[in-house]
Amino acid sequence: EPEVTQTPSHQVTQMGQEVILRCVPISNHLYFYWYRQILGQKVEFLVSFYNNEISEKSEIFDDQFSVERPDGSNFTLKIRSTKLEDSAMYFCASVGQGYNEQFFGPGTRLTVL
């Protein structure tokens, strides 16, 4: 069964460093998403991506964040200068035609020290 994959599973970084979180969505899917979940809190929408551009973004997704689909398979989330409060679980998700179910990846746990 096709699945969304994410790498790394756990990333530890120093405050102020750049991180890139990687996702490989399901191959024929068209819509891609990033979500964040701070420990013990709810899942928060960050950004959606369709047709090689951002279609929606939340207030959390400020200038420190960017997304890219560099090669038609990977979907990346970059945080330019990480802050302590960026520590969270980051989930990637993708949606195919019909737009009725998001398939979530296993998440990347980001720890900013």
Partner: protein, 111 residues
Amino acid sequence: AQTVTQSQPEMSVQEAETVTLSCTYDTSENNYYLFWYKQPPSRQMILVIRQEAYKQQNATENRFSVNFQKAAKSFSLKISDSQLGDTAMYFCAFITNDMRFGAGTRLTVKP
């Protein structure tokens, strides 16, 4: 604003019994999808059940069923014959252009 409210932060149930988790939402859209996701301690997001807003019939998936009341914007999850493996956080969510999640309900199934 599109919001999802789960008013029960924690619930518990005895194994083999039935439990209902509540969820209400607010949207001005007419076409949308509703979901319940399970998040075990591994923190992976696992789809439990899905409901299309245009369908009046309540979705069922084995021991899981929903009570979807569109006019009331209510979408509760019923778990029958609860099992120890059902212990997890449960998130209600709906999607229009993006997906919004409730704050979650921590369900504990007791032996």
